[in-house]
């Protein structure tokens, strides 16, 4: 039963069947090894393309948006409105001398940026962009996300430590304390959604929002969890107001002071893709991911919403969140290192725990919207 007239034209809400590239490869395997290999290759190409393209796009966007916030134009020279600026910069970074400073721990110095980027790539694998565009899915998805995002700090710590530079060292130590602390709050916020969705599988979490996104279905708890997640994950990706490990005006670049050329580019790329990932996960957990805007029961309305492809929903939500994070950066000053820790341990963490407890009560008594469906 629908309230909207197009119901006659539009069929009942689409049922989203999730087919990840990995599962396709797995199903193809007994039949055709070639097909399976093709799917694996496709997944690899997809991840690399996603990495490169989002990287390029985000860096360009950040510059443009920063420019506009600051009454500037941003890049304007390379290509129309400077759209090839990032490409030009990438080429510059590629051909730049890639040096290891004197007295640095050579192996670790070289490995660190790869570690940082590896964590990012591992997270990209599981990010559900649409029902069909997800490289892999797993039943412990949330645990995986939490574990891997904590792994990224390794690269930063090693990079800072191996540089043989006191500024880098301070930056790395700050990063270690910061990322590990905020990991807790981010996880607590995600657990709220896990409670509601009843699954750790990311595609399952998205599908659990077919009747409405958790941010509003879960009453106030969802909003609080969302705010905590946004704050904590902004801190996790070292962006203003939590760019303490880099601290341009304090540490002169922090952990990547001594990096140049391609390895600096890796840190840089990892940082931007992390922003995309954080926005993507926030969208997935709280804004329904690729799930269109649905209201449980309003089938006609829901099917109108389904006309917009799932991937576009994801892109729109993620872009909005990316803009939010950039907006933070171009508005706020930076916190001090101990204030940042205080914010985590004295404000976010208690609020997060209380919120999780409240969420448990809400789930227990089925107080959220459309509990039956």
């Amino acid at each position: 039963m629908s309230v909207f007239s197009p119901a006659a034209v539009i069929a009942a809400p689409q049922v989203f069947e999730v087919k990840t590239l990995a599962s396709r490869a797995a199903t193809a395997l007994p039949g055709s090894l070639l097909e399976s290999a093709l799917y694996v290759l496709l997944a690899v190409v997809w991840i690399v393309a996603l990495l490169a393209l989002t990287g390029l796009a985000l860096i360009y966007l950040e510059r443009k948006i920063a420019g506009h916030f600051q009454c500037r134009l941003g890049p304007m020279r390379v290509g129309p409105h400077g759209i090839f600026q990032t490409v030009a910069d990438t080429i510059k970074l590629l051909v730049k001398e890639d040096f290891v400073p004197d007295g640095a721990d050579k192996v670790l110095h070289v490995v660190a940026p790869f570690l940082a980027l590896t964590a990012t790539i591992l997270l990209l694998v599981i990010l559900p962009l649409s029902p069909i565009l997800q490289a892999a899915d797993m039943n412990i998805g949330v645990v995986y996300v939490t574990a891997i995002s904590g792994f990224g700090v390794m690269g930063i710590l090693l990079g800072g430590w191996s540089s043989n530079n006191k500024w880098s060292m301070i930056g790395a130590m700050r990063a270690g304390a910061q990322i590990i602390s905020y990991e807790i709050s981010a996880t607590l916020a995600l657990l709220v959604v896990v409670l509601f969705a009843g699954t750790l599988r990311l595609s399952g979490i998205v599908q659990s929002q077919a009747d409405g996104w958790w941010i509003w279905r879960a009453h106030g708890v969802g909003v609080v969890a969302f705010v905590i997640y946004v704050i904590a994950s902004t801190a996790e990706i070292n962006r203003t107001p939590f760019d303490i490990p880099e601290g341009e005006s304090e540490l002169a670049a922090g952990f990547h002071t001594e990096y140049s050329g391609i390895r600096f580019a890796f840190f840089f790329l990892a940082e931007f893709i992390n922003m995309f990932l954080v926005a993507g996960f926030a969208a997935t957990f709280f804004w329904g991911g690729w799930m269109p805007f649905h209201v449980g029961g309003l089938d006609g309305f829901n099917s109108v919403m389904d006309l917009v492809p799932a991937g576009a929903w994801f892109a729109a939500k993620t872009s909005a969140l990316v803009f939010l994070v950039m907006w933070f950066r171009w508005t706020f000053p930076r916190l001090r290192v101990d204030q940042m820790m205080r914010l985590e341990w004295k404000i976010l963490l208690p609020v997060g725990f209380v919120n999780l407890f409240a969420a448990a009560l809400v789930v227990l008594y089925g107080l959220y919207f459309f509990p039956g469906t």
């Binding site: 506009h68 916030f69 009454c71 907006w327 171009w330 508005t331 706020f332 404000i347 609020v351």
Partner: protein
């Protein structure tokens, strides 16, 4: 009660340095416990975000000007001190007498004047007015002290060259007397002699105005941007 009250400054009168002074006391910040601080802290952040949002979303507040593109319309203010030049009348005559007041006024010796007895008038006249653009600090004292209003600072831009020796100028393209003396010269030939352009300067600073590899010759004395 918000954390910061902009109107919270208290006015009072204080005795300082033997006088009573009207002062405005800085407001202190209000802290009233956890919930109050978190709520108003968040609110203050949102206030800041509200201020920046219109900037981020629209392009109307951009103030950047794109420089080489707007070169044609770019106007410097008339008083802008960029390049020392002679003021010339319609016939291109200057009013410098070579009195050296500007040379003496120059704080760092950027001006060197060479004078000689003029062949035609028999009076002391300026041979070469050398201005070292590379050393000049644009303090304007030469223009200020000139008793004959012979100098001015022009507002052109784009003076970059690849060799600082090219920044040594000879301001007078002809070695001649003060403009008022010209009228006393009646002979047409002599006038021509007066207006003859002098050769590129080859005195103490040899390269001024001449060409060298990679640097095209520039007319000395006139024209800034080429």
């Amino acid at each position: 009660m918000a954390l910061f009250d902009p109107k919270g400054a208290r006015a009072e009168t204080r005795q300082v340095a033997g006088k009573s002074v009207a002062v405005l006391l800085a407001p202190r910040l209000v802290r009233r416990g956890f919930l109050h601080d978190v709520f108003y802290g968040l609110k203050s952040l949102l206030t800041g975000m509200r201020v920046t949002l219109p900037y981020g979303l629209t392009t109307s507040r951009i103030v950047t000007r794109q420089y080489p593109e707007n070169r044609g319309t770019l106007k410097m203010y008339e008083r802008y001190r960029a390049r020392l030049t002679f003021i010339r009348d319609g016939q291109g005559r200057h009013t410098c007498t070579g009195c050296r007041n500007c040379e003496k006024a120059c704080p760092n010796g950027s001006i060197i004047i060479e004078t000689a007895k003029g062949a035609v008038t028999g009076k002391n006249e300026v041979q070469r007015f050398i201005w070292r653009f590379d050393a000049c600090t644009f303090c304007n004292l030469c223009v200020y002290t000139c008793p004959f209003d012979a100098l001015e600072m022009k507002g052109d831009f784009e003076h970059a060259v690849f060799d600082r020796r090219l920044l040594v100028y000879n301001l007078n393209s002809y070695a001649g007397p003060h403009a008022s003396l010209w009228d006393k010269v009646e002979d047409e030939e002599q006038r021509k002699t007066l207006a003859t352009k002098i050769s590129p300067y080859d005195g103490k600073v040899p390269l001024a105005g001449t060409s060298m590899a990679g640097c095209p010759a520039r007319a000395h004395g006139e024209g800034g941007a080429s």
